[in-house]
Structures are given as structure tokens and as C-alpha cells.
Amino acid sequence: MTLLNNYIFNHLLLMLLISAFLISGCAKATLTVRSPAEINTSKIKNVAVGGFEIGHIMLKFKTERNGVWQTHPVLLNEEQQKSISRSVRARVINLLTATPYFKVIFSDEFETLANDAALQQLVSVRGYKTKNVDAVINGKLWLEIERTDGVDLSKEGLEYFRPPRYRNSLGLNLTVDQVVWWPYKSTRGTLGLEMKMTRLLPTEVVATTFETRTYSQRIGGRSRESFQQIAESFTSVLSASKSSKTDSIESSTDVLPSFEQIIADMALSIASGFIRRVAVTEKIVSYPLAEGSFPNAKVLIEAGAYDLAIGQLQHATAENPDPNDLYNLGLCFEAIGDYGLAQMTYREAWQADPENLLFAQGLGRIERLRREHPQLQRQLDSR
């Protein structure tokens, strides 16, 4: 019996060792990496935001009773439509001012332009020059929001139960099918927003995006399948934990948001997507670290002190070019967005140990970045 016990014990130990090895082999650091702008905007500093043209705005209230639908459009005058476009524009400006790479110039000259064609007209005048504006962002929006008040219909089995009164009676235990009307309120919003960044000298369209966001919510009505409900509640708990306490009424699932709220949320989302295209943004990724001979580096990288880590690793690898240290150095260069140096260092590490998958992956990451961002390729080549 002891033999058997020993056998099992040894097995367990072996497994423990294997998993410990695997955990250490998989050591990953969470890095804050600068991801390049998808479009080369390196020479653009001062940005003016032009007007946002209105492509289409439609707000509607709908009611449905006994299968009869009625639609009441909300008529907006020109001023009201403009105020919607201004609120969308404000979200974009908000985000632009938050990035350290652009300076927003508040200039009437561009804001008052009615549409894209007017901007083209202005810019295309030969010799047009403006002192302090490098590029102009303008946009066009399409918006539809509907709010519906209606009824779902379904057949539900209702249970009737009466306990037995006498000894031999079975009591009453019936399921009775009934048609049930479930009132609901729902809203759905769609915002399509085209945003364009035009460089003034030389004039060219640097970036264009057309993004869409939708928002749909429903209160009441027939309950959904349990599977979907689980998914819904799971995500709502997670997203609720992220929001601050002050907007608990707006974020409650029991309240339909106002038109303004829906527009603001959708515009913010699109604007942050656009900013990601034109500005350098930071993202959090987890990449594996190599087990180098220089333990301090690992601590520094995990703490996000990349510059310090670079200094120390450069020193260490100059004396003793351990490929693992070189890889970690490449990781630091990648994190601060210096992809040229990152690639060089990864290659050095890989040449020292060509069988190492980790080093190949480092090379692959940079190669992929270059492939997917042709502008980055040009930036690197011009170095």
C-alpha cells in the first residue's frame, strides 16, 4: 500500500512540476503599448474642426395597439437639427483635446462652412494659406431614432393548484393555456458618422472613416429565452461596475435613455474610433517576457518603466548579449513605439537562438504591424 501511495505521490509531484514549468514558461507581462496611428499624421499638429453636415435626421414615435401601428415623426426645425450636429461635433472636439498629439485651433473660418464641398471650394482656391492650421476635420452625419410603445403576444401555460381537501381526493393541479399580452417600450437609434481629415498643404484627404453605431433597448415585453438573459445580465453587471455611481439612473436597465443621451453615447464611440486612426493611442496588451539573466529588467517592464529598462538592458547586453535580454529590450522598444529598433533587436535575439519561438513571434508582431499599416512601413523606411 505504501508503494502505491508513493507512486501516486510521485505522479502528483511530477504533475506539479510540469504545471509550474508551464506557468513559468508562459510568464506574461501586461504592457502599455503605444499603437501607431493607422494613418501617417506625423506632420500634423494644429487641427481645426469644421462643421458637421447633416445628411439625414429622423426622430419618430411609434405606437401599436391590437396590430394597428401609428407613426408620429418629430419635426425638427433647422436650428434643432444644427444643435444635434453641434453636439456630435462637441464630442469629437472633446476627445481631440484629450490627446496630447494634436492642438485644436478654434477657428470660425472652418466652423461656418456648410459642407464638405464648401471646404473643398475654400481650400482649392489657389495659393490658399492659413498660418496656423495644418489640417481640418469635418464630418457628415445620418441619424435615425425610433421609440416604440407596443405589445407582445404569446401563449403561456398558467398553473392552477388547489391542495386536496379530503383523504382520497387528488386536489386540483392544472395547466391552463392563456394568451397573454405583454406591453413593452423600446428604442432604437442609429448614427452613421463620416469623418474626414484634410491636410491643407499639400491638400489631400489624409483619413476618412464612415462608422455606424446602433443602440437598442427594450423594457417589459415577453421575457426572452433564459440563455440570452444570462448573457445580458452578465454583461450588464460587468459594464455597470465600470460606470460611475452618479449616472445610475441613465445606465439603469429600467429606464429608456433620452434622445440626447443616445446621440451622445453613439457619437462618443465613433469619435474615439476615429481618434484611434489619426492619433497615437495606447493600448494594454499582454506579451510573454523572456527569462533573461537580468532580473531587474522584468520588474521594470512589468512596472511600465520602459525607458529605465532600456537603459539598463542596453548596458547589460553590451557586455553580455544574452538573447533573452535582447528580446526583452526589443519588447521595451515596441512598447514605446520605436518599431525600427524593436525589429532590429528582435532579429539579433533570433539570430542568436533561431529555434526560439518567442523571438520569432517578436519579429512576426512587427512584421504584421508593417503589413497592416502601410503608412508605418513608409515611416520606418524613411528612417
Partner: protein
Amino acid sequence: MLANIFYVSSSEMRKDFSEVKLSAFLLLCLSVFLITACVPKVSFQIERPAFQRVENINYIEVGNFQTVSGQIKFPSETSSESSRIFTVTEKLLKPAITKFNSKNELGHLAADLLRAALVHELSLQSPYQLINTTGKKTGFSGVIPDESEIAVLHAKVKYAEIIIESQEGLSYFTNVKNKGATLEQSLLAGVVSMGAESSGTGFVIATPYVEQIAALEVEFSLLRKNDRSEVIPSQSFRTYFARKWGGSETASHLPIKIKNSIITEYQSDEDSSESFLSKIDQAGLSFTNPTEYFARGFNLRNNVQVPQTPLDLKIRLARQVARQYVKQISPYYETAELHVQDGNSVAVNLIRGNAYQEAVAFLQALNKRTAEDEHNLGLAFEAGGKISQARKHYENALKMDNNNPVFKAALTRTVN
């Protein structure tokens, strides 16, 4: 053997063993999980060449997007077996839709959205520089490129949209079931009420529904600016949408065969985005990458029970057509699962790490390549979008090993 000893031992020992077994099992699970987590995914981002050859064009000007009235053809029917089984219960609602007629007032909006979607796709992944995106006469000044390098994109747009908000009389057959009934009895009752409902007996109650049906047809032409010659032949693209919220699933204003073919051909992307797993992924992103979470709009609620807005519908169709067309004139990326062969381990490593250019350089420098190496070299070329070179090396691999099915599959993939 272990189990046999297990049973002859005393009860105390039995308890110990089961605990040991459990922990061993847990460890096994843990290590399996870790192993799978550590294996790098061999996901290939492959660059595919454009479907058409576009020569000597560096700039694109977006020209006139004109709306035209007329009829849009129905999609061809798919004769799948599954749709035939339900033919008994299908019902054509009135007014039945027999053709798609495009209307100009909606067409303008659709054409405008199509232009926006097209410019977006072109700016995102095409090698061309956009110089005028509004379709207006005045272009930008500055350095005006040689007109023979400019292509002007024109389109003729037909758009039909039918949104029906109405009610249909559905029959509800209600019955009373005794809980004490046997399984056979309750099954029988279920069958009876289903049969009664489909034959229309029962309470007929007005049940509300919304049905959206739309079709978009666009004819594109790409003309060289200096001599108005065609850069590539003009092409037409069609896409459709049909969906119903509420009411009976088998009743529609469209003939059911047409509707089925629209759903299978043009709406296959719809279900995948709603899966439970993707929801969890999205929620996880709110912690790991909040900027991304907001930028992709995952913070916005999305209830699939709420019908789309007509704007959603137009944007959806416009995007589908824009993507199809951009693939014709510009290289694009797609993710593919390809199998790396067991060749030179250094090259295999590089390919698995997504470093295709390095792999090409390394393999080309090798003095002697095996059939597997030739295949892997082809793979590295293919992943970088160089299909003709890839094909050459797949052919080499097949010459060395005539019967290898993987090499054959790779060659057929690149020939098409």
C-alpha cells in the same frame, strides 16, 4: 488495475485515495489548460490580391453617384432540402411582393451612404490615394497629379425598400392540462393544439409584426480621367435583406423560397455576432482595454428583439456592396487557418510567429530544401499576398512528393 486495488482496501483508505484522485484530476485539468493556453495560434493574416488588375492608377476620385429607377431582379432561389419540409405551413401575406422597384427619393440617401461606405473602405485598405471624395466638380488644388494616373469612380444606384408594419391573425389554440396526466397524454395534447393552430382553428387574434425587405443594386464604372477609357470593365453588384420581427415565422410578404435564399446568401453573418461567447469577450475587453471597448461601441446596449431602423438597413446594404467592390480593385486581408509542414525547424518557427518575410529570406538562403520546406516557403509567400511565387513553390513541393494531399490542396487553392 488501480481501480481493483482501490476496492479491496479499507474504507478509510478509500477516502484518502479518492481525494488523491480528485486532486490529481484537477492538476491534470490545470496542466491541460495551461498547455493549450501556451500553444501559439497559427492564425494567418493573408493578403489576397485584388480580383481585377488595375494598372497605372495611383489616385481615385469619387465621381457621380446617380440614382436610377427601375426593377431589381429577385435573387436566384436556393433549392435546399430543409426549406421543402416546411412548405405546408408557409403563408404569403398580402400585399405580396412580386418585384423590387427602386424609388428615387430613398435612392438618394442610399447612394450617399454608399459613397461614404466606399470612401471608408478605400481609405482603410486600398493602395490608392483619394483626391476628391464628394463627387462635386471642384477638386483640391495643390500638386495635381498626372491625369492618366487618376481613375474616376461612377456608380448607378437602384434601391428598393419595403417596410411593413401590420398585423396578422394568428390562431391560438388553448387547452387545459392536468398535471397528473401521463407523458403520452400531454404529448398528444401538445400535438393536437399545434395541429389546430396551423390549420387555423382556435382563437384568431391580431398579432403585430414588422417586416423589412430591401434590395440594392449598384453598377460601378472606373474610368481613366484623361481619356475616359475603362480601367476595369463596369460591374454590377446586388445585395438583399429580409427579416421579420413578431408574428409567425413562416409567414412573409415575400415568397418563402426567395426569402430563404436571401437569408442564407446575404445574412449569414447575423447570428455569429450575437453568440454568448462574443458577449463575454466584449465584457472582458472593458477591463483589459477600455478605450477599445468604447471605440467599438460595446458599451452601447443591443437588444435583438428591437427591429432595425430603416437607416440601419440602408447602411448595411451599402457596406456590403462597398466591400465587394473594393475587393475587386484593391488587395485585402483575410484570416485563414493553414497547416505548416514539419520542415526546417527554424523556418517553421518563423512562420508560426507570423514573421513571413523573415521566413522567406531564411528559406531562400538554404542550400537544400526538402519538399516540406518548399511547401512552407510557398506558405510564407502566400501569407504575404504573393500568390504567383507561392504557386511556384507549391509546384516544386509537389514535384518532390507527388501524392501529398496537403501540397495538392495548396496548389489548387492558389490556382483559383
